[in-house]
Amino acid sequence: MRRRLVLVGAAVTALGLVAGCSGGGGGPDSGKTTLKVAALEGGYGRDMYTQVIDAYKAKNPGVDVQLQISKSIEDEISPNMKAGKFPDVVVLGQGRKAALTETLVKDKALENLTPLLSTKVPGEEKTVGDKLTEGIVGNLNTNPYGGGDTYLMPMYYSPTGLFYNKGLFASKGFKVPATWDEMFALGEQAKAQGLPLFTYPTAGYLDSYFFALLADVGGEQFYTDVMTYKQGVWQTPQAKQVLDITTKLLGYAAPTTVGYANEQDFTKNQQSILENKALFMPNGTWIVGEMKDAPRAAGFQWGLTPLPAVTAGGKRYITTSVESVWIPSSAGHKDAAKDFIAYLYSDEAAAIFAKSNAIQPIAGIAAKLTGENADFYKVYEDPAVSALVGGFASTAPVEGVDIKGTLFDTANSVISGDKTEAQWQTALDEASEKLRQAGN
């Protein structure tokens, strides 16, 4: 009797294993298309995706949408992708540690989405391209190879810049600096009161700072030159000026910055803004939600300002972080995937996303915002301020060269005095040159 039980148990286990292995296939039954959507669970949460998908399914009874969502979605979908099983739609931006999006861009493994721009949004009159904010497509973020073809659709956008405590500025009588001269004057003034001017969570957060500063100093053409590794671009006077300003700013960094600039402790650097231990830090609008439970100084209120202008009245850029949605070129249901993406830009979907503070780059959406968000998105209204999207252009991978690391992480060494500005410039020049050769 007992032996039979054991045998039955073993058989059941074996069957379970077999069933488990074959479960992933999911054959097409009753003619329904199964659309596999993978999304990063970011600061906006996961409810908005399930709501949008429910709304989509209600309109398209012939499509079944499977959502896979996780805070580390790369780890969950990439093993399957290596085995040749691709999701149909992926909502995942660039700049993540696992760099899945960047890797696929480098591999030219994304579907060309240019036709999608002239597709009508399901149930509406306008096309997707008409609904988008001007200038949000056509940059290196959406057209990573620099041409006219769009491979990544902009999904949510948010301004990044220098965050500070409005309450502290009001009580101390500080003015938010409009030029770098004013910035450094404020630095001296604050220093006299024992207040450091600047801190950053980790050096990686300097991305928004550098991109904006490069464009502020040398204009958009210069910014694009740097991002596309133009020969000798780091030896130009503009590049020197960018590093000059940065080195000077890092001289005003809070003494605790480098010690906390790691994965474990970066929130302590963010905390120093909340507790009035530093004036400015580069960050994104997610900071409000991220630090919402943290203790703070009395009268604390988040403020966001673009980087100061290089010359009085000069143009200021605000680095805008854009999450992307894309289709792997090996996806099984590309047409259904395109229809689904077009739906994501419908008024119905946008309203659901906006409820979770996920703001899509749809023209006219900023007017509907409330609270702190309304304040943050107001930075775009200043005529002297322009949005800046993008990032370093993709090249074939170059072994051992990481220009982002060279540009951002060296800040830690500059603060501690382990590296000089000249070494920084040389290292950037070398990295940029190696990438240029790989790109062409």
């Binding site: 890797t103 591999d107 474990q264 051992g400 060296t410």
Partner: protein
């Protein structure tokens, strides 16, 4: 041997093979194939996803020699290997000798306390040490402040000259209990008569340790040396990844964390595998050298 016995032996062979086959297949699929693959991939340029794999021969290895970050990671790994091994082994032996030879009261409690870190997850250890090393309210700097030794306060995880040693201390803390228990078990198997006889001859505790204890547990020591090599390579990766992320500015990067960065973040899978091959060769070589260098005629009691 009779014919019947022969037959039985053959019959056993088939049965043994059938029993071993699943294990062998699993071993081949999960150990041999991936290892061979690491070696094969190190000769290619591949981003990790695309079907586009290019054979580049030894180019990846040639590039490693020019890669300052790689050299730094290598140096850091070697430094950790030496420091952690020497300190852990020295302290482990010392503590084990005290615990077994001296009749300390409450030694079971000490053993327990020292062993606990070994059971903790590395992420927990990273969190604990991030609290210990905190430059403002951390245990370490706080204690120094109370003792009026403010001059000795350091930014433990932010200073490029110290950060590696901060990681080393965490590694020692984590593994000390494990090695101590290992050494204790081997020491307690040494017959008590040897110590009694030597103490009648007037040998001090120190003399006993070096002339009796150490030679008799020598084989166990050699075994643990191999463990040290492995843990310096593996444990340092998890700890660095959770605690410093290789920073500030690459000052605490170790070989495996650099390999991960190259293979995944920098989409240079082939290059990462070349680093993997170097790690493999390095660990293998060091283990071999250590094992050769410590070879002695085994002493028995």
């Amino acid at each position: 041997m009779t014919a019947a016995a022969k037959r039985r032996k053959r019959g056993n062979g088939g049965f043994v093979l059938a029993c071993l086959a699943p294990a062998l297949v699993l071993f081949a699929v999960f150990m041999i194939v991936p290892t061979v693959n690491v070696f094969r991939m190190s000769l290619y340029t591949w981003s990790g996803f695309s079907p586009d794999m290019r054979f580049v021969g030894l180019d990846n290895f040639r590039r490693l020699l020019d890669d300052d970050q790689f050299v730094r990671a290598f140096q850091n790994t070697v430094a950790l290997l030496v420091v952690v091994t020497v300190v852990t082994m020295g302290m482990g032996l010392f503590l084990a000798a005290i615990m077994t030879r001296q009749k300390l009261s409450g030694r079971n409690l000490y053993r327990f306390v020292l062993y606990v870190p070994n059971v903790l997850s590395v992420v927990v250890i990273a969190a604990i040490f991030s609290a210990v090393y905190d430059q403002e309210n951390g245990l370490l700097n706080g204690a120094l402040r109370v003792l009026s030794l403010d001059g000795l306060q350091q930014v433990w995880l932010g200073d490029q000259r110290i950060v590696l040693y901060s990681v080393a201390i965490a590694m020692v803390w984590q593994s000390l209990g494990y090695y101590m228990v290992l050494y204790m078990s081997s020491m307690s198997s040494i017959p008590e008569e040897l110590y009694e006889a030597s103490s009648l001859d007037g040998a001090s505790a120190g003399k006993q340790f070096f002339s009796i204890t150490l030679p008799l547990i020598w084989q166990h020591l050699r075994t643990t040396l191999t463990f040290f090599v492995m843990s310096a390579v593996n444990l340092s990766f998890v700890l660095v990844r959770a605690m410093t992320g290789g920073g500030p500015d690459g000052a605490s990067e170790v070989l495996l964390s650099y390999m991960y960065k190259q293979a995944y973040t920098n989409s240079s899978y082939g290059y990462g595998m070349a680093i993997g091959v170097v790690i493999f060769a390095f660990s293998f070589l060091v283990s071999l050298l250590v094992s050769r260098a410590t070879k002695r005629e085994p002493l028995q009691f």
